[in-house]
Structures are given as C-alpha cells and as structure tokens.
C-alpha cells in the first residue's frame, strides 16, 4: 500500500506535527514500506476472534472517592514554559 504526501500531510495535521515538503515525501516513502510490511496481517484467519486490548483478562479496580492529592501548583508550574497568575499560557484561542 502506498501513501502519498497529501495523506501524509493530513495525518501530520491530525498528529500536530509540522512537516515540510521534503519530510512529507520521506514519510510517504517510509510509511508505505511499513504498511506493506503490515499487510501480512491480512493473511490471518481472524473470523470470530475477539480483539485483545489487554494482556490480562482482568477488570477495572475502583478507588474510594477521597481527596488524596494536595495542591502542588508551584512545584508543577516551575517546569512550565509559560505561566501567569497560576494559569498556563498559550497563544490566544479564538472561539
């Protein structure tokens, strides 16, 4: 299966990765090879097989409804790229 650079750009946009024209071409070639390789899955007999999302057949454990996490805003925001007045800053979002 081959991917063209327009498809690569669409995927890159979904993944929020900036790609220039050269990278788009490279991705198109590289990803096509990988998808060719993955085509092998089509040989599998998967009729009636349940998809397996987890290695273990277990159920979700529940935690009691209690506040256990203290305020650590200063600690967490010490590693943030841009904060003001306790808020994380991003370029203006237009609704």
């Amino acid at each position: 299966m081959s991917l063209n650079s327009d498809e690569v750009r669409r995927i890159a946009q979904l993944a929020r990765l900036a790609v220039d024209d050269r990278e788009a071409e490279e991705f198109a070639a590289g990803l096509s090879d990988i998808f060719d390789f993955v085509e092998a899955l089509n040989a599998a007999e998967i009729g009636g097989v349940e998809p397996m999302a987890h290695p273990l057949d277990a159920e979700q454990r529940l935690r009691p409804d209690a506040v256990s996490e203290p305020d650590q805003r200063e600690l967490f925001q010490a590693i943030a790229p841009a904060v003001d007045g306790g808020l994380y800053l991003v370029p203006r979002v237009i609704e």
Binding site: R16, A18, F35, F37, P55, L56, R61, F76, P91
Partner: protein, 484 residues
C-alpha cells in the same frame, strides 16, 4: 578493588567488608573514567548517590535488612525521579525535572538502593539499537562499532561494562531482552502487571513492562523482589502477593519440559546464534530438562501486529507533549497550531515521529478496522498459541535475537529491518508473558542471548532455570576486555 555481583556486594556490605559510600565511590569512579567510551548514562547524580549511600551506611549500622540496602543501581531515564531530569532520551523532555517519583524507583529507594544516575535509551523507548536517543548512541562494550541493542541500551551497556552492578529497563517489544542479549547480561521482562507502570513514561501502555537487568539471574531476582508489587496508582497492576524470586533459584531442572518453537529456529536465524543456542540447550538437557519441539503458528505475525498496536497507543500517549505544561516549547509561536506543530516537530526525533504517524493513521477513520482491530485480533491468536503451548511445556526457549549486535548505522535507513530485530521477543509482549534473556555463548567476540519464556506469573521458574544454567556456565560472568 575486585568486581563483584549485586548479590556478592550485598553480602560484603552486610559483613561490613565495605561501606556503601566506598562502593558508590568505586562505581562513580568507573563511570567517570569509562563511560566516555559508551555514553551509557544521560545523567550521573553523584551528590544524590553519596547522600543515599551515607544514609544506607547508617541503616546498615543499625542492622536494617532492607534487601538492596547500600547497593548502587542505575535507573533507565524513562522512570520519573523527583528533582532529577527525566528525559526519556528525548529533546522534548531535555528540560523536564520530574516533580514526582515513579513507583518502581520509590520501591527501590525504600529497599535501600543507591541510584548512581539515569541511563541512556532510545527516544521514548522506540528503537532496537539505542541510536534514536537525543543524547547520542550508546556503544556496545564488546565492540564500540556495534550497537548495544535497545531501547534499554544504556542500562545494558552500563551493566555489561560493570559501571553499575544492576539497572532497570523497560520492555515493550524486547527492550530489556534484546539489549541484554547484545551486551551479554541477564534481563527479565516480568508478566504484564507485575511491576507498576506509574511514573514510567508510557510508550505503549498495554505492552510496557519494567524489569531488572544485571549480570546474573540471581541479581535479577534480588532486583525484581524490590521492583514488583501491587500499586494502587496503576489500574493494570496485578493485586497478588509478591513471592521471593530468589527462593526458586535452587530448583532442579529434572523433568522440566522446555518447548522449542520451530518458528524461532527457521529462516533468518544467524547460524552462529543458532549454534550457540543449541549448545546452551544441550546444557539444560544434561541437567535433566526435556526438549520438546512445539509450534507457535501465528508468531510470524507478531511484528506486523506490534507495529500497528504499539504505534497506535504511542500516538495517543505522546499527544500530551504539546508545549503547554512541561517539556519543549518552540520559540515565539504565532498561534496555537504553530505552538503545537512546531514544538512537537522540534521536540521529537525521526523514529518517534514515524511511529506517531503510523499510529495516527491506523486509528483514523476508515482504517481502524483494517489495521487496529485486525491487529488486536491477531494479538489474541498469538496469545492463544502460547496458551496451547503451555499446556504441553513448562518453559519455552530459543534465541533472543536472530543475530549478534549489528554495526552502528547498519539498519538506520531501513525501519522494517530494524523492527525485525525483535522478531522473537515481540510476541511475548503481545501476550503479556514473562520473558528472560541470559548470556548463552558468543559468536566471535560478540555475545549471544538465549530467551526463556514462561507462563503468566512464572518469573521465579525462569529465574531458576537461568540460575541453574549459570551454575554450569560462565558466560554471564565474562566481561568485555576493555572494562576489566
């Protein structure tokens, strides 16, 4: 000072033969002197290490019996460590000083371990050669022109060169076992859910599992005793009492049924690796084990299935690196889209981007069923193969990798060839089973690893088999000449 194993150092610390400070200084000195040849550490933390060593010496003086008390270890730079940069091998997290500590690290600290630093790794654990690290490739101590394997290549090289007696690794498709094989050490990926994933930076959540890397099975058992255990912070952590993994080391191999999957000995296996593996199997047979040929018919689909499932999970797991709350942010973003796309394009390397692209594609509208869902179904077929096999045998054995360590750059241009390096290890992650790699011989000067795969929660048996093998052989005790 004469080098020793983790277990050996533990005995000498308790005998007050040596202090933790002396031991820590000894290994810090080796790192300082020798790591420039390997690049196995991203961060060395001597101040923290010496403070921990002094605290350990006080505890030792009080007769404290914590299992890893005073022992130097290294943490793969994928585990969050409070106040210490946790980069995951990526430019994206080059400035990330972790504000909390991973459960595995907390458990090891509580057991008295002394962390010397954080080891190099493939970026976000995506790689089989340690060449994708933002901090440069790690070199194989047996041959500096060759790769140490990946993604836990820094831990493997550091242990092989005895820059540290033991280190942690993580294994999503073979990232403990393949570098252990390439570097001639022992490493075990436990059953999925045995070791907490909290604070271990996620690559593919349903496959990732942490485990120990050390010279011997005995050392791995000591480490695993501290690492394993239920964690209420991880929903996929198994609520089950932790056994003493050192207790089964003496178990006899008599009557042990070892399955040899014919798919692991077929085309693509290097003849030297095959010969070394067969010789190692003969040792096990001599000790009383029965060798039985088995089949894992769907194992050939494991690499294609993995390269759908793992990138799918990774594409979502790595969406949080957006330049807003932590990590790399591009300069002067024009608008929100620019902030996202440029921060991510600058922060991630080529292989990480490639996997994000694959994962985004296989989950996108119109492709989900054809790729993701199909791969999840094949995943079940693969797990079912193992289930049937373990009805017949106690342990499965074969080569860890189809080849000995390849040269730096040899496979960089061909991702598919690189991915096939994990052809024997990946199925184990898809099924969630425990898998161990131990030194089984050499081809020329290069180590060969043998893989042992166990049934769910059968780590103690794998460690026992490896320990018995290591009683008969000395492959695990050999060291690369440049580091003796």
């Amino acid at each position: 000072m004469k080098l020793d194993t983790l277990a050996g150092w533990a005995r000498r610390l308790r005998a007050r033969d040596i202090s933790s400070r002396e031991l820590t200084e000894f290994y810090l000195g080796r790192i300082d002197r020798l790591d420039s040849q390997l690049n196995s550490f991203i961060s060395v933390t001597p101040d923290l290490a010496l403070a921990a060593a002094d605290a350990a010496d006080e505890r030792l003086a009080r007769g404290d019996e914590a299992p890893l008390l005073g022992l130097p270890v290294a943490q793969k730079d994928i585990f969050c460590t409070f106040g210490v940069r946790t980069s995951c091998g990526s430019k994206m997290l080059d400035n990330f000083i972790a504000p909390y500590t991973a459960t595995v690290v907390e458990r090891m600290n509580a057991a008295g371990a002394v962390m010397l630093g954080k080891t190099n790794m493939d970026e976000f654990a995506m790689g089989s050669s340690n060449e994708t690290s933002h901090y440069g490739p790690v070199r194989n101590p047996w041959d500096p022109e060759r790769v140490p394997g990946g993604s836990s290549g820094g831990s493997a090289a550091a242990v092989a060169a005895r820059l540290v007696p033991a280190a942690t690794g993580t294994d999503t498709g073979g990232s403990i076992r393949q570098p252990a094989a390439f570097c001639g050490i022992t490493g075990i990926k436990p059953t999925y859910g045995r070791v907490s994933r909290y604070g271990m930076i996620a690559f593919a959540s349903s496959l990732d599992q942490a485990g120990p890397m050390a010279a011997s099975a005995e050392d791995c058992a000591l480490m695993l005793n501290a690492m394993a255990g239920f964690d209420p912070r991880d929903s996929t952590s198994v609520e089950r009492p932790v056994e003493d993994f050192t207790a089964g080391l003496g178990a006899d191999l008599k009557g042990l049924r070892i399955g040899l999957p014919r798919e692991f000995f077929g085309e693509g296996l290097d003849p030297g690796v095959r010969a070394a593996t067969e010789a190692a199997l003969a040792v096990l047979r001599e000790r009383g084990a029965e060798l039985i040929e088995i089949s894992l018919p769907n194992s050939g689909l494991s690499v294609p299935a993995y390269y759908v499932v793992a990138p799918a999970e990774c594409s979502s797991n790595l969406a949080r690196y957006d330049g807003v709350r932590f990590g790399h942010r591009c300069d002067e973003p024009r608008d929100l889209t620019d902030l996202y796309t440029r921060s991510r394009a600058e922060g991630f390397g080529a292989e990480v981007k490639r996997r994000i692209m694959i994962g985004t594609y296989v989950l996108s509208a119109g492709y989900y069923d054809a790729y993701y869902l199909k791969a999840q179904k094949v995943r079940r077929l693969i797990a079912d193969d193992f289930r049937r096999a373990f009805g017949q045998v106690d342990v499965i054995a074969g080569p860890t990798s189809p080849e000995t360590p390849f040269r730096l750059g040899e496979k960089s241009a061909d991702p598919v060839q690189m991915y096939l390096s994990d052809i024997y290890t990946i199925a184990v992650n898809l099924a969630g089973l425990p898998g161990l790699s131990m030194p089984a011989g050499t081809v020329g000067n290069l180590p060969v690893g043998m893989q042992l795969i166990g049934n769910y929660f059968d780590e103690a048996r794998l460690l026992g088999v490896a320990h018995q093998f290591q009683q008969e052989t000395d492959w695990h005790a050999r060291m690369p000449a440049a580091f003796v």
